[in-house]
């Protein structure tokens, strides 16, 4: 009889009615999972550099466990070799010795404390490993395509067998720690995927050759892990349904499906369906990829195997997975980034509080940080990775400390600050000169390639403000007189930036327009447009105009265009700029504006003319307005977001949150 770990009854919840397929039980191996929700194993770099579990990771996982409302909650993949060749992240948990079991048990207990099913993942990072040592191990010695990765050397036949044993031993330790389900990671360039791929496996022994030979290490691992797990602990595997490595002779999609069939034959109880490698030249999970874009791969997997199929990858809202499950194209909805951004996301879905979800904006900052040995951070969730730290939670202020707070500006910085301060008990008033909340995100979200998803942030913040009792004063511009009239206890200046003037000759020309007016369609531009400013706002506007068929040139002072965009996303913009014929002159200034052209001056003094009938200003500066009056009146004040230093949405949100905690 199948095992039930925790009883859950969702029948009275609105989410279970709206998304009935998500809250139906499913049997995986011999285990009943109460719903179709899984927090998929995600590295967080929160553990210590010797692989021991920290308080930060326990709290991080506990928070996600609460979110899955009884579903599967997987801790990050553990590396399993003492030599640390399989370690791909500096804060990755280790499991090569029994001494790690007590720490791992803390994670399992934290997950069980939320009545969720605790998942344990085995992850030798193979080709993208060896982060703390000079070289790594791989099925064959294939040079690295990207210099950030260490050189790899071919494992001997004996070393492969030892690696299989390491997986089995680590699975045993995971079970001892109390985990309920074991998963093997075979994706994105990690060791098992290296064995499976024709790109990285050139072996001629029993672990290489045709697809069956290349699967042999995986088969031995599955069988060995199954043996230590016994009948009651399911064993799953994450496998690429399409490596997206056809440019380097990787597996064909048919070969990838063969790996699924062979994993099923070997005894896998489920497969988590993924795609792409870190080395792939195609985008997979960035914001420019439409939601639900990859569901056809889950469907294809379902057509090839009988065991349950799980999938994450651009499924940020419950409607699509709910439908896919109903249509028989998917069995479980996995989440990584959506639950980094909002750990309670599925819980809010269940409780009918979808408008309270802080949605991931698919910027991939979390990944960029992990790849650069930094702890997990979320672009829009300031609490992420600080779940263990009480100082990051809004603390109620005493009655005598309650203040009247005037927040000037209803953009992401102001709104974030507003609801946090209001939650703490302050009386908060948000003043916005426009009739709509959202600040510059209203315009920024009009840029192409998925930027409309940025609006999920102010929508969430507005809802949180409403729940916290924030007072809105829309259509009200804050002046010195208004501040003197109201005389609040605290003023938070979140007005956004001011846009730089072009000091060059002709800078006052009528052909010079503001980026916000362009994005909102308030002004029309000519055919040859120059964007002044080579950061993200300029790039967004350039792509917006290039889509309309304009010839766009970006000119900016930064040494490279988009230097403020994280590298895991920037490459997408660079490709779109190239495809759209957008030229960028970086490290340059506008020296002169003439009729039909401008003169660009490079950092080293060269001058060149660029055809131009409209100049769009996207270069920004800190906003100094209102500071002197609040200082004169002796009012406590804070400056946040772009008003302080023009940066990005993330900085606005993080500034707002932190100041909301401080007032």
């Amino acid at each position: 009889m199948a095992k039930v770990l925790f009883e859950w009854d969702y029948s009275s919840y609105p989410g279970a009615k709206a998304y009935p397929n998500l809250f139906q039980p499913i049997q995986i191996g011999n285990l009943i999972v109460p719903n179709r929700i899984k927090y998929a194993a995600t590295e967080d770099n929160l553990n210590d550099h010797n692989g021991f579990i920290t308080d930060a990771d326990v709290a991080y996982m506990g928070s996600r466990a609460k979110g899955v409302v009884g579903g599967l909650c997987f801790m990050q993949g553990v590396y399993m070799d003492e030599k640390r060749q399989g370690q791909g992240y500096v804060g990755q948990a280790a499991c090569w010795d029994d001494k790690y079991v007590p720490g791992l048990k803390r994670i399992a207990d934290a997950i069980h404390g939320e009545r969720a099913i605790a998942g344990f993942q085995l992850m030798d990072c193979g080709r993208v490993g060896a982060v703390e040592v000079d070289s790594g191990h791989a099925p064959s010695t294939v040079p690295q395509r990207l210099r950030i990765f260490k050189p790899m050397f071919e494992m001997t036949n004996q070393e492969v067998k030892e690696m299989v044993k390491q997986h089995v031993d680590s699975a045993r330790r995971g079970i001892e720690a109390g985990f309920d389900i074991i998963e093997i990671s075979g994706i994105v360039g990690y060791l098992i995927s290296n064995f499976l791929s024709s790109y990285t496996n050139r072996r001629t022994d029993e672990y290489g050759g045709d697809i069956r030979g290349r699967c042999q290490a995986m088969v031995e691992i599955i069988q060995g892990v199954k043996e230590v797990c016994g009948p009651d602990i399911p064993v799953g595997i994450r496998l690429c349904s399409d490596e997206l490595l056809d440019d380097v002779k990787g597996n064909t999609p048919d070969e990838s499906m063969m790996t699924y069939k062979i994993a099923e034959e070997a005894g896998a109880d489920y497969i988590s369906c993924t795609l792409g490698w870190q080395e792939s030249i195609y985008p997979v999970i960035s914001r420019d990829i439409p939601q639900g874009n990859w569901l056809h791969l889950a469907k294809r997997a379902k057509e090839n195997v009988k065991i349950p199929i799980q999938m994450a990858y651009r499924l940020f809202t419950p409607d699509k997975p709910n439908k896919a499950i109903g249509d028989g194209e998917l069995d479980m909805w996995e989440m990584c980034r959506s639950m980094i951004a909002d750990p309670q996301m599925p819980k809010k879905v269940l409780e009918g509080r979808e408008d309270e979800i802080r949605h991931c904006v698919a910027c991939n900052l979390c990944l960029a940080r992990l790849f650069r040995d930094a702890p997990m951070t979320c672009y829009i969730n300031p609490l992420c990775a600080h779940e263990h730290d009480e100082r990051y939670y809004p603390q109620q202020v005493q009655e005598s400390d309650k203040k009247e707070v005037m927040i000037v500006g209803g953009g992401p910085a102001g709104l974030e600050c507003a609801y946090v301060a209001a939650k703490r008990g302050h009386e908060v008033h948000v003043y916005e000169k426009r009739d709509e909340l959202g600040g510059t995100i209203l315009e920024a979200s009009r840029a192409p390639y998925g930027d409309e998803e940025l609006m999920t942030c102010p929508r969430y913040q507005k809802r949180m403000c409403e729940l916290a009792g924030v007072n809105f004063h829309l259509g009200t511009e804050v002046t010195d007189e208004l501040i003197q009239d109201v005389l609040p206890d605290t003023v938070v200046i979140a007005t956004g930036p001011v846009y730089s003037e072009i000091k060059a000759k002709g800078g006052d020309s009528k052909n010079v327009v503001n980026v916000l007016d362009v994005l909102s369609g308030k002004v029309t531009v000519g055919e040859n447009v120059v964007i002044w400013g080579n950061r993200k706002p300029g790039i967004g506007a350039a792509l917006f105009l290039a889509k309309q068929g304009k010839k766009v040139t970006i000119i900016g002072k930064e040494k490279s265009a988009g230097f403020d965009i994280n590298p895991s996303f920037k490459w997408r913009y660079m490709i779109y700029m190239k495809q759209s014929g957008v030229t960028a002159y970086n490290d340059c200034d506008i020296e002169e504006i003439n009729d039909g052209e401008i003169i660009v001056k490079t950092y080293d003094g060269y001058r060149l003319p660029v055809k131009c009938d409209t100049i769009v200003i996207s270069e920004r500066e800190a906003n100094e307005s209102l500071k002197s009056i609040v200082q004169e009146e002796g009012i406590e004040f804070f400056v946040i977001g772009d008003a302080l230093v023009p940066r990005n949405l993330s900085s606005a949100v993080h500034d707002g949150y932190r100041i909301g905690l401080r007032i």
């Binding site: 040079p143 690295q144 395509r145 050139r202 440019d247 380097v248 060269y606 001058r607």
Partner: protein, 175 residues
């Protein structure tokens, strides 16, 4: 003030050519340093060839993210040939790649090369210049071959420092 295109371009050109000649000069200065460090028993040709190997290995690594098998075998080979010719052009040479008459072969021609004249200034034998260039290109192929699981070779058929008027390299797929 309107842009004086002739002035801007000539200034840029002068700077570019100055930088290009510094590539060769810097290499030969370091060659002298290496020979002096290695001591009296060292053969200068061995030093030059070792340096070519190290540079070729690094250039090969740089090429890996830029090469793409989706262009097909012929397209791949031509792209690689163009990339190699591009190295020469960056150094101040005039080089190009073109398909050969037979499938699986590409010829790289260089009609102007800055290395022999720089070598003369440093007293470097011309044969060393030719052999260094051949070794550089051969080493570029090492990582490319392993990465794409192919067997490409490159042969020097003619060399400017040998008085043959041009460099001619044959890049081809070996069996």
């Amino acid at each position: 003030m309107p842009v004086n295109a002739e002035k801007e371009i000539s200034n840029l050109w002068r700077t570019l050519h100055g930088a290009q000649s510094e590539i060769c000069n810097t290499f030969y200065r370091w060659r002298d340093v290496a020979i002096e460090f290695a001591g009296p028993g060292v053969e200068p040709l061995d030093v030059a060839l070792k340096a070519s190997e190290m540079m070729g290995k690094d250039i090969g690594k740089n090429l890996l993210p830029r090469l793409n098998w989706l262009k097909g075998e012929e397209g791949f080979l031509l792209n690689l040939g163009k990339a190699i010719a591009g190295i020469w052009n960056t150094e101040g040479g005039i080089a190009f790649a073109e398909k050969g008459e037979n499938p699986g072969e590409v010829f790289i021609k260089c009609t102007r090369c800055p290395w022999p004249s720089a070598a003369k200034q440093f007293g470097v034998p011309m044969e060393e210049v030719a052999l260094s260039r051949e070794r550089l290109f051969q080493t570029i192929l090492e990582d490319v071959n392993v990465f794409f699981n192919i067997n490409l070779k490159i042969e020097m058929l003619k060399a400017i420092p040998r008085g043959e008027g041009l460099y001619l390299f044959k890049l081809y797929k070996a069996n």
